[in-house]
Amino acid sequence: MTEDVVQLLSPDGERHDHPDYPLDCDHERLRALYRDIALTRRLDVESTALQRTGELGLWCPVLGQEGAQVGAGHAMRATDFGFTSYREVGIFQVRDVDPVDLLHLYRGVTHASWDPHQVGLGIFTIVIGSHALHAVGYAMGIQRDGADEAVLACFGDGATSTGDVHEAMVFAAAFAAPVVFFVQNNQWAISVPVARQSRAPLATRAAGYGIPAVQIDGNDVLASLAVTRAALDRAREGGGPTFIEAVTYRRGPHTTSDDPTRYRDQAEVEHWVALDPLDRLVRHMEIVGAWDAGFAASIDAEADALGERLRDAIRGMSDPDPMTMFDHVYAEPHAQVEADRQALADHLASDVAGAVETR
């Protein structure tokens, strides 16, 4: 029903060609992919550390999925737009979202800190599946604008069970919307294995809507790049939606609050360590001569600088002005919000509130 799993780069770094997904990848592009995966990985490590020391409330690790994400990110044109969940750190990296902005969110300072129009990514959504519909609606807008753009909608294996993802596929098919559904099947939705969400491969869902589907090796950054690019091209050309299932694995906990030892074997994790997306890219770069010690060191240095910048920006960061929590509830003035804003101002000015610290 679906084609076989598309793989352009085997775990040992060998390059395969695929008739439907030709890919010319020069050394510069390989280095850019390496950089994005490596920096994503460093951001992941640093953020987890900041969470452990209490500077962040939470972090959602991405270890193991960076290949799928960075490939998809590279497939997007600057004018394309993406909708993600919390997990797509690799795509935020590619689209140049300032990681400090991301951490603001996990520190509880904002709900979102980037300008979607600037980076071409919607603010991310925690309520699983709901943004798939936003992606389709945005794509319907592109259609009406007659614009040469497409949308990437990222979600997880768990999300495919939600009514919203289904309705998104129904609408996308009905209106032939220029959207690519990019599912990272990382085998787990917190503690629930993908088999509980579906007995058939997730990619087989698409045919029932009249949407073509491809299953890719989600730990192969080149397959992700080539297949996603082809799908986005097709969408821009009026070919309608495509469904991509990137078969990958979440090697870390679901979030820093999770304890995966309760529900899965370490052996399973080990299996996927051997399929690591960064390792195979490095091997490939070595084979094709795109790899050298100087380059690796420069990325390490960049990663170190990133870590330092994050720690400096986040550690001991002061809390926001309480009065700003009333900002932007509405675009136009709303009497109740104004009244409540005034009430807090009065309270903060009062004796009782002054007593907070001492009580």
């Binding site: 936003h134 509405y330 009497a335």
Partner: protein, 325 residues
Amino acid sequence: MTSMTMVQALNAGLRRALEDDPKVLLMGEDIGPLGGVFRVTDGLQKDFGEDRVIDTPLAESGIVGTAVGLAMRGYRPVLEIQFDGFVYPAFDQIVTMVAKHHYRSGGITRMPIVIRIPYGGGIGAVEHHSESPEAYFAHTPGLRVLTPADAGQAYVTIQQAIASDDPVIYFEPKRRYWDRAEVDDVAPISGSPWSSRLVRAGDDVTLVAYGPMVRTCLEAAEAAAEDGVSCSVIDLRSLSPLDLGPVVDDVRRTGRCVVVHEAPVVLGLGAEVASVVTEQCFFHLEAPVRRVGGAYIPYPPNRFERHYLPDVDRVLEAIDEVTAT
């Protein structure tokens, strides 16, 4: 001035909004060739095309969710939910996404979405077709909630709702759809819809209502006048924000207040009105604010509805009670 039913007034208002702003889109089930089950969108797809008047698949969450994306792209979607009882599958998209998106985005992304919902009972419909879910939405920060009481209000406020940069849940009192009124469809739209309106001035009791119950209260005020009791009638019009200033001013004069709606009394709009009026008119009130509304039961089969819905007699009974002290 043109004589129109509320359905015609809404149709004319939507038509003008479509003409005035190419970003305005209509979406919903059966709003195209059929013109909606109440014909509110009659003829609009023919005149504005399938790209702007969109018959959607049967999926309410899908309708609202795709509208969120369209709004992000700069469109102003106006959605039709076919009946009150079918809005709940879209509840998550409405309260989690539509209501919060501007706030979550730090003020960057606006959500100028209007969700039209024919609501309320009194038309002998089957179940799920007569509900009054407005309190759910008025309790949800981030949404605005409007409901017109007559054709003239409908013509103006539907356009104001569409022009608003905030999301608006627009409740249409379906039992008043076929009531006629003179509508000024020439003058430019002016004034703010986010305020209540004194629709009848009186001295003894302040009646507060909105949507379908405004007419009921006007009729009750008429009947009460015959018995020598003079009632003000205030149409709230906007349920979020609630503009209770005029109500408070009036009650400070009359000392008595009755608030009327079809939804269950428990945690209905009347509870908020009564609470605020009591807070602000505490030393002026001669009697506690009296709430008239639906019982704490699901909307019953329609052969019961005349006993379920507030009517002139139940309003009069409430007037009697508040004037007894």
